[in-house]
Symmetry: D3
Amino acid sequence: MSELVTFGETMLRLSPPDHERLEAADEFEVRAAGAESNVAIAAERLGTPSTWLSKVPETPLGRRVVSELRGYGIETDVVWSHRGRQGTYYLEHAGKPRGTNVVYDRENAAVTTAEAREFDIDVVQDAKVFFTSGITPALSSTLRETTANMLKAARQGGTTTAFDFNYRRKLWTPDEARETLTRLFPGIDVLVIAARDARTVLGFEGDPRQLAHKLGSQYDFTTVVVTRGSEGAVGWHDSVVHDQPAYETDTVDAIGTGDAFTGAFIARRLDGDDVPTALEYAAAAAALKRTIPGDVALVTEEEVEAVVEENGTDISR
Amino acid sequence: MSELVTFGETMLRLSPPDHERLEAADEFEVRAAGAESNVAIAAERLGTPSTWLSKVPETPLGRRVVSELRGYGIETDVVWSHRGRQGTYYLEHAGKPRGTNVVYDRENAAVTTAEAREFDIDVVQDAKVFFTSGITPALSSTLRETTANMLKAARQGGTTTAFDFNYRRKLWTPDEARETLTRLFPGIDVLVIAARDARTVLGFEGDPRQLAHKLGSQYDFTTVVVTRGSEGAVGWHDSVVHDQPAYETDTVDAIGTGDAFTGAFIARRLDGDDVPTALEYAAAAAALKRTIPGDVALVTEEEVEAVVEENGTDISR
Amino acid sequence: MSELVTFGETMLRLSPPDHERLEAADEFEVRAAGAESNVAIAAERLGTPSTWLSKVPETPLGRRVVSELRGYGIETDVVWSHRGRQGTYYLEHAGKPRGTNVVYDRENAAVTTAEAREFDIDVVQDAKVFFTSGITPALSSTLRETTANMLKAARQGGTTTAFDFNYRRKLWTPDEARETLTRLFPGIDVLVIAARDARTVLGFEGDPRQLAHKLGSQYDFTTVVVTRGSEGAVGWHDSVVHDQPAYETDTVDAIGTGDAFTGAFIARRLDGDDVPTALEYAAAAAALKRTIPGDVALVTEEEVEAVVEENGTDISR
Amino acid sequence: MSELVTFGETMLRLSPPDHERLEAADEFEVRAAGAESNVAIAAERLGTPSTWLSKVPETPLGRRVVSELRGYGIETDVVWSHRGRQGTYYLEHAGKPRGTNVVYDRENAAVTTAEAREFDIDVVQDAKVFFTSGITPALSSTLRETTANMLKAARQGGTTTAFDFNYRRKLWTPDEARETLTRLFPGIDVLVIAARDARTVLGFEGDPRQLAHKLGSQYDFTTVVVTRGSEGAVGWHDSVVHDQPAYETDTVDAIGTGDAFTGAFIARRLDGDDVPTALEYAAAAAALKRTIPGDVALVTEEEVEAVVEENGTDISR
Amino acid sequence: MSELVTFGETMLRLSPPDHERLEAADEFEVRAAGAESNVAIAAERLGTPSTWLSKVPETPLGRRVVSELRGYGIETDVVWSHRGRQGTYYLEHAGKPRGTNVVYDRENAAVTTAEAREFDIDVVQDAKVFFTSGITPALSSTLRETTANMLKAARQGGTTTAFDFNYRRKLWTPDEARETLTRLFPGIDVLVIAARDARTVLGFEGDPRQLAHKLGSQYDFTTVVVTRGSEGAVGWHDSVVHDQPAYETDTVDAIGTGDAFTGAFIARRLDGDDVPTALEYAAAAAALKRTIPGDVALVTEEEVEAVVEENGTDISR
Amino acid sequence: MSELVTFGETMLRLSPPDHERLEAADEFEVRAAGAESNVAIAAERLGTPSTWLSKVPETPLGRRVVSELRGYGIETDVVWSHRGRQGTYYLEHAGKPRGTNVVYDRENAAVTTAEAREFDIDVVQDAKVFFTSGITPALSSTLRETTANMLKAARQGGTTTAFDFNYRRKLWTPDEARETLTRLFPGIDVLVIAARDARTVLGFEGDPRQLAHKLGSQYDFTTVVVTRGSEGAVGWHDSVVHDQPAYETDTVDAIGTGDAFTGAFIARRLDGDDVPTALEYAAAAAALKRTIPGDVALVTEEEVEAVVEENGTDISR
């Protein structure tokens, strides 16, 4: 029985190697990539049995995605569909000033037609935590409803609900996002949100500590985590705010850092850690993720612990 | 001024290397691939200045396609679009009994919204030959109309019209194809069609010579070429049927063979060759194409001539 | 609940790309490879829920193997070990006259210490078929005993036992193999054996039909399948011998062909097919396997059926 | 009609991947690389229609170069030659203290025999700017004359002449360079020169501002740009000196940075920008170039503008 | 002390992977390739200590060549030169009808200035066999003289001289070759020549047996081997002609087949085999070479023997 | 005659490209890697003729290792063995906080059975320096004895003995290492040791200068070099301590840095440099090594000198 169940879209991520431009690429690296499966995998790697729910086209591409995710150790409980595409995105890695660029090609993906009644809702209600992110309801009006229904079902089953705000400006406007997502807030126990999104989408002001406090107070969240990129995160719980700096890291691939953070945070909370400790492990998992190519935090518990305990060495032999 | 103008969709073709399955691919080779651009390039390589018309998304992927085609020497006269996707297809190469498999992901491509009025119709009317294929009207109702309008405009400008029947069962049913394409036949001077399509889509019977004769007689074509894969082709012109066997070839990539054939045939006809001679060059270009990875017949005139003259050697040094 | 449970070693297979020699390789392709996991995967691909049992080192290499196998859809129920290596083998592909060459480096693998009591024997006894091969007892004296114990436990649980003779001359002598394996025969219901092994190891004589008959008569097997490489196989069941020719195939990687055959045969028998029909599917799966790089028969039921029904086309688009 | 016409050699650039040494390389990446085509492409990418003139061997290698350049969107107007090689250079990338190393193999290239009368001089005289660099006259005595003749023809046609000093110590001595290049100065309107070259080849002294001023005063240039690597550039125009710092950049490939700078500068000047604004865009294009593998500044106008406006984000999705 | 000493040019061979065209290549595989070093290596692999003499530029490219050759086990005794290029050639592999194509870029290589007095002639005179080929004197007038001098010195030292005619039409005309090479014939003991060259360059007529006989009679050779590609070879010795058919082989790379043949023939003769036996081993080495990518026959004595004894199996494990 | 002779194990090093995790690797880069061969190569590159002694399995893998080493220019004088494996190790490169990780798979390597009497001891006694490291005696009890015997033989022959302490915690405990290695100290002239090992294995205290002094005083070494990673090294000789800072370097591959240091130090000492000068060259070679992928310091004397003289430029063309 999985303790964590996540729901969302996982795409094929296509990226040219070695900083090449998409425009000049003769080759793409292929990987499965999606916020909610990333979170499930990060949690599984830290010892939490996890399941990812989704709707996937019954094509070699859909099977490609599920196969890779299954290889990472999580359970995949998917509705196989004969309609709808496998969503993809094209990713171009670069440093300053070019920056990493994403071209989405995910419209009309099979998952956009997923309805709550297509899934075995017991899986959600038997879990300890249900997780999805703000990307899911941004993908279609059907998914907007499905997200609400899944959160409601989880709540009814006594399952804790966790949610990453994950605003994506290439999917919808701040106004659309705010209106849709704040409507979901009452059904959410644990909110993870980037400080930037709290400001530009939700309109809050202040430093991350203040943002966490305001969010926690205004809505009825149990826990709020405000992330601030390379500067770490802030956790609000029981009206107390905890600061967690980021660990130093040599970034190879920044995509999925937030998901590693969230998955590790959930895993450690499920394991009984208090919020400050869980934040430490989350930050360590996030730092390790940045050294690994791909979306996925392919880490071990020992590695995460070593970072927390600062036992890192340059070469281990 | 281009002598040949072609119109149609060019996709990004994504294929795993070394016979790997799509389902297990960690890498895709990326190439531009489309019947009409293939034909333009094959003709250009044999000395006919050629232009490809299309509608392409203003994204790195759209630019990727146009850039590759331009590198092959043709002119690209495209409408850049801010709506619609870059069509893609996934290709898995294999021998018997697995066979080569194609997964289309080309719905809602930018080109599906292309209307005749978006193009500079002078380019078509100033050319000697206008070419498109049965794939184009299969892509959208808009393109069905656009194809008809382009053929009409060409005819009005005194431009010869050439058309490859190119039935694709993953795009539409035989009934849909027959109804749509036979309606275009009155506007077509030169028809290229696979014997298989003549039988299963158009319902003709007989051997390729008979098919060519029946097609040429029933509709008002100037020239009909019936292709029959590895067994060569048959050309019908002025009520005479010409047999053209295929040249022996060590196939590396069979995709685009027919387009190489058609492009070379058009180029040689424009250059003044009679139909039997043009068929010889067409078959030679097709045989060479099969030795080259990708959709495109990256051949030289000298090579095609050497095949016709059977001057091939094993190693030239 | 898995219907098929297999037990054996899965190695890391390291092979230079593009027919390069091991001696000159600068790069190895890495894949999981083992007869018993191959059989489980082939059966799973044809619809039989399957589990692979083994003992694997708790290292990145051990996890690498399990992760790949899990990605193919089977369950992996492994004992993680802190002692013993991950077995590897080096593979060099070539045609005639060089031939494909294998360099084993599998001594002292973790699996060589696996004892029956380390596994949840219910998994075996609740399955419909238990499978292992003659490679397993060749690996260590412990495994010799474990194989016998697993077969015995299966029999006790009412689970059908299937066994591939799989003689490997780089592991032991014909005498050693004969002595060990014939001792296991009484516990085996379904035997798969290469005609060559029946002759050179067991000392039988005659054509494959005769070999199958003699084996079936002399020992108390329910079913005997004698394979004869590119010439197909012969099945003996209820005293009747069935001939199954091989399907034509363009071989890319011959390793794992027999395992694909056996896995498909088991899957179809479990699905209710009679022996001649199961042999047909087995031969089709084997033919498809040869077009796929790696040890694993990454096929679909539809593809296997299409081969049986000879619906193959050159290009499907 | 192209607004910018450039003339010079473009080589095949062969470089081992991943910082490997030439001495140990088993693989070379292949790219077209030449200062004058780089400048044309950078200008084209910023909206200036550009043509590159050269003489190229009629071989697969010569066609390889022209094909790649054409793919970048510029016009290529080349004399195809049956004599002379395709020039190549071998490039080894490394950081400190090894440094990036270049092994030229460009002697007897076809271009070294190019004479002005082989080109359609109208193309030059109808352009707004003609550009070449100090590399061209360093390649042969014929090219020394041709460079002078092309500059003279441009001047006669009312075309502005732009010149990058581009001293290459592996091609000639400082004395040879100074003598040849200063003789060309009277025919040049816009000079781009590295501060280092102004000092060690031309013998000027002072900081970059002083160098720009002295060069502008002593010779009759309209505009002088003195570049100083990672510290930016200085522009002198109408007796005023403008400082342009470099933008921060994560360098992947430094080759072609100066050409990106010059091409962007020319494009923006042609577009009507004043010198300080053009320098800003030039510095932005140069910074982006350094993040892109290969010689060529495969940037978009939007990206360059975003750098100038400092709108860069880490990940755009 | 080496028993075999060879002298000649070894080039960098640059070839696009996977049948790609040179014209479209983004990547080249890099290998050392030269007839005389190939012969030395083939002989060394069959147990004959061998040395390769040449003149090589003191550059990373020159060192690249020597390093690879040394890795194959032979001694390399080279004159390091500060003048002259490292010769290269570009190779495009293809089957019928395209064929394998070679673009030489070897003019002005360092080796073209090599004089006999630059080498330690004792190395030649202490060897049992000295070998060079008709390529060497084709490269420069200096090398024409050097070849003659080296052969003369060998003869004076009592060293047997062996020579492969190796006519290359991209280097010189048949007339030039005939005139130069026949002048060397009096100094040659063992001649290897393709039947095609015997006919088109030397003007002999007849089948390979007749060619061998005529050559052996007309000139004063001890041994003549006439090769005829995939149909085997004919050896003439002591006025007796021996037929040697070719072994069946799945060709991956045909370049270097003749050199493998010659090297193995020399090695076996040095080892005491009679001509028919040496021809068998030569044909076996040649067949194995064709399964190996690159110019070099990276075989073992055991493999060659296995082919001769027809012990080949499909998979050895 | 080699001036430097080294003795030890060289493994096949298998590493996934591009920071990929071992656990997810589909490809390994293959290189020969061993402390003692690294030292021999570094010395050879700086002009000291060097030989590496070892025992290697007579398999394609053993030949793979020897072939690569020979390609680097050193002599390889190995005992070919029909028993024992080719040792391997798996290497995963990463920056902070993940760090570079090594998984050894070197047990039962052929070299672990090497006895002194298997080697031609004259090679050692005719050399000027004999080198091995603390890894060798860690591999087996046989090698413990062999190391002692080789050092003794060297000493008897008047050959200077040099030794790198090279403690590897994955091979043995500090206690085991200390006991074994200090017993060898009386036979060692030149000791190289990491400050960390001096502290945690030998139990010394103090800064590197103090460590060097204490080591030099307590045992009867002629020279002691204490390395301290990116902070340089300290040399003790004739009771004087010399500080050598590290040169700035952009690290691509840190493995082998210490071996490059030691090899260069030995080479320069043999060439007559005093200790401070040899330390400078050693630090320069080490800095260059870090820019080169693989274990081996593929540098030239000119490059090392340029670093010492700080003549580095960014791009040399």
